[in-house]
Amino acid sequence: MNRIYLDNAATTAVAPEVLQTMLPYFTEHYGNPSSVHATGRDARKAIEEGRRQVAAAINAQPQEIYFTAGGSESDNWAIKGAAFANRKKGNHIITTAVEHHAVLHTCAWLEKQGFKVTYLPVDAEGFVTAKQVEDAITDETILITIMTANNEIGTLMPIAEIGEVAKAHKILFHTDAVQAVGAVPLDVKALNVDMLSMSGHKFHGPKGIGALYIRRGVRLDIFMQGGAQERGQRAGTENLAGIVGMGKAIELATTNLPEKAAKIAALRDRLMNGIVERIPDVRINGPKDPSRRLPNNCNVSVRYIEGESMLLRLDLAGIAASSGSACTSGSLDPSHVLLAIGLPHEVAHGSLRMTLGSDTTEADIDAVLDVLPGIVSDLRAMSVLNHETTTVSDETFACPRA
């Protein structure tokens, strides 16, 4: 079966060119970058080339790039490192209700350590405003952490404006840009960010490698004690092939990015408009303005049916997608992002996220548009809910525990 992969926000395939670049670093150039000999020096050179490539992609200096094991580690380091390094100045952190769990759970852990966290609410399209951030600042505020792009509904936050506010108040500003790198052009100087998290496997690089941009002059607590790797901040022998792969991948992803993003956005619009035309009672989740939304993100709620059953039927038809329903989150609550934008639970349970990749074709989109309406009408015919059932009482039953 010809499989159609529309879950590129979850992960992407390693690009063939990236893999080719990586392979010699497992076998031929396997040196420890800390070694003095020629084999080690070759490895060191490759790492510094990777660092240069990552820095160039976001308009940073190479010495401002620190390699990590991925996006979650970068978020953990940035937030905990900034919080503890500035504990004497204050104990207040500002974030939003729609961050990735790598940020939200880190903030929740810091609350247990005595920090105070403000979780800013978002509007119906998932936005916070710079004014909301400014109004939340207190004398105790030491860190603002707000994502560049939302992984579920594609909202592009007003990072440059928030960066201005942070700068004016001399407060550290971190952004989780895991979904944005390689999807939209980013410039850390124009955005006024002090720290920026990224992850290799989101832009056709390998898994298990990420990076944290730390603006020169910003001091964080050391993330990993040990050797002198990553300027003594993150010990451990470097993930050599991973760094080489991430460097190559980010270079490829950010080359001619505006043209590539426009092409993907056109396919995304074909998908989203096609769904709205073909299927009644659907709701687009996330920004209506395409310029304020990740080019590859399509998120819709299909009323009266549940997301996981849609995913299974799509999967049986060879189409990979994802959902914010409880049944796919491993908990009994639907996505915190969909609840934060104000969706009722049953509408959030019926969400379907499709995220396009650089290899997605018009034929792929048309195949989805052929298959999806039939799946929806099958599941709707089976469902208790329909346009006549108003919201069935919410509070009468408690959700059963597994």
Binding site: R313, H345, E346, V384, F397, A398
Partner: protein, 124 residues
């Protein structure tokens, strides 16, 4: 994560629909939790001669609804009341632990339909 049998029942669910003038009808679950299940039964001489379901829910919820209807069809109401969620899950070659609550709903829906039938009988 699902057994082949779950996928088979999910893809080709048995006894979908509603029964006009059902002898008993039960709805359980909650859209807030992502699962809601409705069962209609037709009872003749104490035997469940027909059963139909409608479910809003995940793959496991649909598969357990389908399996539960098969398991009670042709049974007496007393036999049907013996149906347990474990039996439904076992008949499907098991369910992932986080999905066991779906089999609870199937058991509860059958019970609710039978309760409704008994209530109607008492009223007549």
């Amino acid at each position: 994560m699902y057994s082949d049998k779950v996928i088979e029942h999910f893809s080709h669910p048995r006894n979908v629909g509603e029964i006009e003038n059902a002898s008993g009808s039960g709805t359980v679950g909650n859209p807030k939790c992502g699962d809601i299940m409705k069962m209609d039964i037709k009872v003749e001489d104490g035997i469940i001669t027909d059963v139909k379901f409608k479910t809003f829910g995940c793959g496991a919820a649909i598969a357990t609804s389908s399996m539960a209807t098969e398991m009670v069809k042709g049974k007496s109401i007393d036999e049907a009341l013996q149906l347990t969620n474990q039996a439904v899950a076992e008949a499907l070659d098991g369910l992932p632990p986080v999905k066991m609550h779906c089999s609870m709903l199937a058991e509860q829906a059958i019970h609710a339909a039978i309760e409704d039938y008994k209530k109607k009988q008492a009223e007549n």
